[in-house]
């Protein structure tokens, strides 16, 4: 470890934290040095968020210590963490949507008299430091994800002067926003703060990090120091990280590992199909949606998905993907237009009858919409079949049948959970996503709508999810894949349509080189055309 006289070391020693059925952190020790970006990598459930929630004072370790330059401190509450200058940007947004930027930032302010002027000044300083522009009076809900994140960072650094922790900050961002974030992180680092960056993307770890620590099963299984990382080429660094991350499992991931790591250029991985032989499974004719919220509605969407086809929908996040998925799933009313499924008009039918026809929906809001966190994994696996046999008989739940089905799906999809009775909300992101896929793809699924299926998932799980979708299509299932990840769309889709402001603005058949350019062309065209 390089420690110069001026730089401070935050050292975690033998941090251990157990939850019922899992040891989330198992004697983890690591040093975080000011003026450096320390990347934390590891599979879903490796214990990354738990470790930083201990740093943030949200959880107390069962044993182990945190010390600043050798002096042991007790971070007993989030407030204490803030007082020590530790700021955390959590995996899931913590902004209050109905509040303005400034109000959100001043939430943590303890003095009775909130000094708006000083707050504005502080925001100005932070904006300068981060190299961004933030309107203090904009409503948080009106900001794009990238901007929201800038506010979150400003909030974390509001009183912070020691350590900035970013938990998977890039998983929902566009490439441009990620670039901005990188610049901001570099500036924070130059100020002499220590930065901890959690990510699943090796490319980012290499580009932004000064050193890397890898967690697996709650243990620190590998560290690449500053000199070593600087000496490595990108490929070498990746190999070292992958080896530590997956250990013996690496073989199972195989060649795909480097592919997933984002090193190679994306190519289509599904078998080509001949559209003419394939009956149309889903057809939308000039469909517009009508919701209650403020998000963008689907506007005059016409599309078809064939049997065995994966139709990709590309677009910047928040351009009506949610509305389109919900219209197909039956969760959002159709204002005009018609929806056909296997030739039958289903415009008027609701979620449950569509579900029985074989229309399924894997939502992007896994935590609050896709699962009920306070209920067991087993119940979550049958939650879309409430009242149906064999799980319910004349309205009565049949625990045996539910358990059998849960065991089967947990086995088949490799859901890692201490038991079927564990509350779903305590599982890691990847395993929650597996619950959704298992539930939606079972029992006669014909068409599945998947919205951003792999964000926040580790490499292996990303791979698994994509395999599951490819497999489903190969067996004749149809997939409507909405994603902001162009590489993912190119790998999986037979055709790609581009969505912008709720309308489809162009389509590309994914049959060789140049798809990315063509899709990119439609996306920029749409943006320039409307902005």
């Amino acid at each position: 470890m390089t420690t110069t006289a001026t730089s401070e070391v935050i050292s975690l020693r033998d941090i251990t934290k157990a939850f019922p059925g899992v040891i989330a952190n198992d004697h983890v020790s690591l040093d975080i040095v000011s003026g450096q970006v320390h990347c934390l990598l590891g599979e879903n459930g490796a214990g990354k968020s738990t470790l930083i929630s201990i740093l943030a004072g949200m959880q107390q370790p069962d044993s182990g210590t945190v010390a600043f330059d050798g002096k042991v401190v007790d971070i007993t509450s989030p407030k204490v963490a803030v007082d020590y200058g530790i700021g955390v940007v959590h995996q899931h947004s913590t902004l209050v949507p109905a509040f303005t930027v400034l109000e959100n930032l001043m939430l943590g302010e303890s003095s009775m008299l909130q000094n708006t002027k000083r707050a504005e000044q502080r925001l100005g300083e932070l904006a300068d430091l981060l190299g961004v522009e933030i309107d203090p009076h904009a409503l948080a809900s009106d900001l794009g994800l990238g901007q929201q994140q800038q506010v979150e960072i400003a909030k974390a650094m509001w009183k912070g002067s020691r350590l900035l922790v970013l938990d998977e900050p890039t998983s929902m961002l566009t490439p441009q926003a990620i670039e901005h974030l990188g610049e901001s992180i570099a500036r924070v680092k130059a100020q002499g703060l220590a930065v901890v960056l959690i990510t699943h993307k090796l490319r980012e770890a290499y580009a932004m990090g000064d050193c890397v620590t890898i967690l697996r099963g709650g243990r620190n299984v590998g560290h690449i120091g500053v000199e070593q990382l600087a000496a490595y080429s990108e490929a070498e660094a990746q190999d070292a990280i992958l080896a530590a991350m997956f250990g013996d499992d690496l073989a199972a991931v195989g060649d795909e590992a480097s592919d997933l790591a984002g090193a190679a250029e994306a190519t289509r991985e599904v078998r080509a199909i001949d559209f003419d032989d394939r009956p149309v499974r889903l057809e939308l004719r000039d469909v517009s949606s009508r919701g209650l919220g403020r998000d963008i509605e689907a506007d005059g969407v016409t599309l078809t998905v064939h049997e065995g086809e994966i139709l990709g929908i590309a677009g910047i996040d928040g351009h009506g993907q949610g509305a389109l998925s919900e219209v197909v799933a039956g969760q959002r009313p159709v204002a005009s237009g018609t929806v056909f499924f296997d030739g039958e008009d289903i415009t008027k039918s609701g979620v449950r009858s569509r579900q029985q026809l074989g229309v399924r929906y894997v939502t992007d809001d896994r935590l609050h919409e896709g699962t009920v966190g306070s209920m067991s994994v087993a119940l979550n696996l049958v939650i879309k079949r409430i009242g149906q046999r064999p799980f319910w008989k004349s309205g009565r739940i049949q625990p045996k049948a539910v358990d059998t089905e849960a065991d089967r799906l947990i086995q088949e999809y490799g859901i890692r959970t201490p038991s079927p009775e564990t509350r779903a909300g305590t599982l890691s992101g990847g395993n929650i996503q597996k619950i959704l896929l298992a539930r939606e793809l079972t029992n006669g699924a014909k068409l599945v709508v998947v919205n951003k299926p792999t964000y926040g998932l580790d490499l292996k799980t990303v791979h698994l999810v994509r395999e599951i979708l490819i497999d489903f299509a190969a067996r004749g299932g149809s997939v409507l894949l909405l994603s902001t990840d162009l590489d993912e769309l190119i790998e999986l889709s037979h055709r790609i349509e581009v969505i912008s402001r709720g309308s489809l603005v162009g389509g590309v058949v994914n049959d060789g080189v140049g798809t990315a350019e063509k899709v990119g062309h439609y996306m920029t065209g749409a943006i320039e055309g409307t902005d």
Partner: protein, 370 residues
């Protein structure tokens, strides 16, 4: 959670429910001392007038309306719908019995008239809840405010009825005619506990079963946990809000009619026992489980039955009972907070203190940090 923690969880639930009650009793004792009354005398009085002799039968009779109100609250609260219009709903049910009773018992066999009264009471309660329910379902209006407002209106309407068409012309005070003993709910043989008590216990068991074992109960829980998830699994949330509100309000109105036909036999204007105010903390203590509410309601029924006389003897105002209920609520919040801290692995002791205390017991290696 796995099997090993089931017993633990049960113990935890027990602690979290019973500790606040004990603390509230202790602190209320201290308050009594402070204001110069004797807590011993008071609690002895509660015991004497609430349990000894045949007094326990009066306590159980009081349990009937309390428990039915509790079940009504639980049904709404499980779905995260805060029906606070219980006082008005209760009085509407009561006035259905006290107003229709004297008319119906003249023309119908008692059994049939009783059934008709119960059904009408439930319907009146359900209909009264439609306005807050529809406002909530369609426009997201806060149901706490609308149900409270509807409750105020109901209290007014009930008084108008008692002073108007339901008034007993034979007496000068505004009250309904007294229903003859022959028409009231029968007693459980050998006791003076009316069968409303049995009805209440049966309702608690049925509600417990429906809420925890059936598809309907699961739907309510999903709806309560996350409206977004409810929409995702295809629940009709408009219907759900209306149904839960109607059930809740209907049950509370039923409690009112059971109370009149079982206990009071007539109703005076401006009479309002406000059972819901006392029951509400109890349903939180029971964690919205109907069967678990039974012991808490029993506890309160004894306290209320015995406490009325006991507080007079100890020189206290009857309102002191509500102080005890308030203290239960307060300590419940505190135990809950500490319980959550524990669940997060946070200690009751500040970490610094804990480490210093534990230091001598640690292994050498753990003691040094750097």
């Amino acid at each position: 959670m796995n099997e090993t923690s089931t017993a633990q969880r049960f113990a935890q639930g027990f602690v979290r429910s019973v500790v606040p009650v004990l603390l509230a009793l202790i602190v209320s004792g201290l308050i009594m001392l402070a204001i110069g009354s004797s807590p011993l005398e008071f609690f002895a009085g509660v015991w004497k007038y609430g349990i000894t002799g045949t007094n326990w039968q009066r306590s159980l009779s009081l349990m009937a309306p309390l428990l039915i109100v509790a079940i009504g609250l639980i049904v709404a609260f499980r779905g995260q719908l805060w029906n606070l219009g219980y006082n008005g709903q209760y009085l509407l049910g009561a006035v259905t019995a006290s107003g229709l009773g004297p008319i119906l018992f003249d023309v119908l066999p008692a059994f049939l008239a009783t059934i008709v009264i119960f059904v009408v009471a439930v319907l009146v309660g359900a209909v009264w809840s439609l306005i807050p329910a529809i406002l909530k379902a369609r426009y997201g209006t806060n149901e706490i405010i609308t149900s409270l407002v509807m409750s105020f209106i109901a209290v007014g309407v009930v008084n108008l009825l008692i002073k108007g068409i339901f008034k007993d012309p034979a007496v000068s005070t505004p009250q309904t005619p007294v229903i003859g003993d022959d028409y009231l709910l029968p007693f459980i043989p050998g006791t003076e506990i009316h069968i409303g008590f049995v009805v209440a216990i049966a309702l608690a068991i049925v509600a417990q079963y429906v809420l925890s074992r059936t598809s309907f109960g699961l739907r309510v829980d999903i709806f309560g946990a996350s409206p977004k998830a409810a929409r995702h699994v295809g629940l009709n949330s408009t219907w759900m809000v209306i149904l839960l509100f109607a059930l809740s309000s209907g049950l509370i109105a039923l409690a009112g009619s059971v109370d009149i036909l079982g206990q009071f036999a007539y109703q005076r204007a401006d009479w309002d026992p406000r059972y819901g105010d006392a029951v509400m903390p109890l349903v939180f203590l029971a964690r919205f489980r109907p069967v678990a509410a039974i012991p808490f309601v029993a506890f309160y029924a004894v306290l209320a039955t015995g406490g009325t006389l006991a507080s007079q003897q100890a020189g206290l105002n009857v309102d002191f009972l509500l102080v005890i209920v308030g203290l239960i609520l307060l300590f419940m919040t505190i135990t809950e907070y500490l319980g959550n801290r524990r669940q997060l692995g946070q200690s009751y002791l500040p970490a610094g203190l804990r480490r210093t205390v534990l230091q001598p017991f640690r292994k050498e290696s753990e003691r040094t940090s750097a």
